[in-house]
């Protein structure tokens, strides 16, 4: 169990605690106006200055001797904030975790607040200029997206039933997109995304700059060496370079430290040799979120 689960999981995983999805939380923190203001200008957030810094050339800023550490600390403090959000132009309390398909289906079937909507991924739009409907939103967030034309998919039906949402998520997951669930802002959960690296604005800071903008999943992938035929289909789909092919063994090897536990590689394996195991069962990796 990660820190978020310990504090907000009510004895389980934080994202399976239905309390965080309720409209009552959105009303309590007045998130309707906050989120509207934030998503109206969502693409601008990276170029706006926070404490005199914006994200332009972030890697160079982080390499500066003392300033780099201050920038990283400030960014993490902002993302992990549990205080009521104040400024819609910052990603305050916007922390997420990677979820495998089983947990995502549990979220959609039991926790997610109605109405459920699918919207164009804004990360893919702002970094590739491509509109692709693969994010699923819940509750108050759905009402907001419905008022912002650039996020609405170009088809008639974008309000989904629970079953349709599960089907859509499964489709994306099998395509190789990583499932991720987000507080946005804390303590309200409203986003279930299907992300791809390097476009995703949430995964990029973690993978490229080491800023904890997203936690690894509660699981790690493991495999049955006898079943592996060395076809390398899983190597191609892994977005974190956790799976490698070993030429002398003629099978794959998994780097547990690099694995984020998204479980997408399982769809690629025809031999069903890959499976997810809870992170607690890997000594040394229990606290590596």
């Amino acid at each position: 169990m990660c820190d978020l689960c310990m504090k907000h999981g009510a004895g389980g995983k934080w994202y399976l605690n239905a309390e965080h999805y309720s409209n009552a939380i959105a009303e309590k923190y007045n998130l309707r106006d906050f989120l509207m203001e934030q998503y109206k200008n969502f693409e601008q957030i990276s170029v706006r200055k926070v404490h005199g810094f914006n994200a332009v050339g972030m890697g160079y800023k982080l390499k500066m001797p003392i300033i780099g550490r201050i920038v990283k600390h400030t960014a993490e403090k902002m993302l992990h904030s549990t205080k009521p959000p104040t400024n819609p132009f910052r990603a305050e309390g916007h922390i997420g975790q990677i979820v495998p398909i089983e947990d995502a289906i549990a979220i959609l079937e039991t926790c997610a607040a109605e109405p459920i909507i699918e919207k164009n991924c804004m990360c893919r739009y702002m970094s590739r200029g491509i509109k692709e409907a693969c994010c699923i939103n819940f509750g108050v967030m759905s009402e907001i997206v419905d008022r912002l034309p650039r996020f609405i998919p170009e088809k008639d039906k974008y309000f989904l039933t629970r079953q349709q949402a599960v089907d859509r998520f499964t489709e994306h997951n099998k395509k190789g997109y990583i499932g991720s669930i987000w507080f946005g802002p804390f303590p309200y959960i409203n986003n279930l995304c299907s992300c791809a690296s390097p476009e995703c604005a949430g995964i990029r800071p973690r993978v490229d700059f080491g800023i904890k903008s997203i936690y690894k999943a509660e699981y790690i992938v493991d495999f049955n060496p006898d079943a592996c035929t060395g076809c390398r289909a899983c190597v191609a789909v892994c977005q974190f370079k956790a799976i490698a092919y070993d030429h002398s063994l003629r099978r794959i090897t998994v780097d547990y430290g690099k694995c984020y536990g998204c479980g997408v590689c399982r769809h690629a394996c025809k031999q069903k040799a890959l499976y997810l195991k809870p992170r607690d069962e890997f000594p040394g990796f229990e606290r590596e979120y």
Binding site: M58, I130, P198
Partner: protein
């Protein structure tokens, strides 16, 4: 990679005010391997029309991830991108 990479986009040729809508083109966004560029609405444009803003531009955001492949320079139909180091 030695030194800092500087990517400049000439907003007189591409983006708000130039008559070229980067949302319609997006050649640099799609050709870039590490997705260095960011498509965003120009700061300050929100006051005019908050719901469907027409003023958009491209900013090179993750400069340190640039691999200096120069594909964006070749791909830009307006010759607005330049990469230096």
């Amino acid at each position: 990679m030695k030194g800092k990479t500087r990517i400049t986009i000439d907003h007189a040729k591409c983006g708000d005010g130039a008559g070229v809508d980067p949302r319609a083109c997006g050649a640099c966004l799609r050709i870039c391997g590490p997705a260095v560029f960011l498509l965003h609405e120009t700061l300050g444009a929100k006051e005019e029309n908050p719901y469907d803003p027409q003023k958009w531009r491209v900013t090179p955001l993750w400069l340190d991830l640039c691999t200096r492949c120069m594909k964006c320079v070749e791909a830009c139909p307006e010759k607005a991108v330049s990469v230096e180091w």
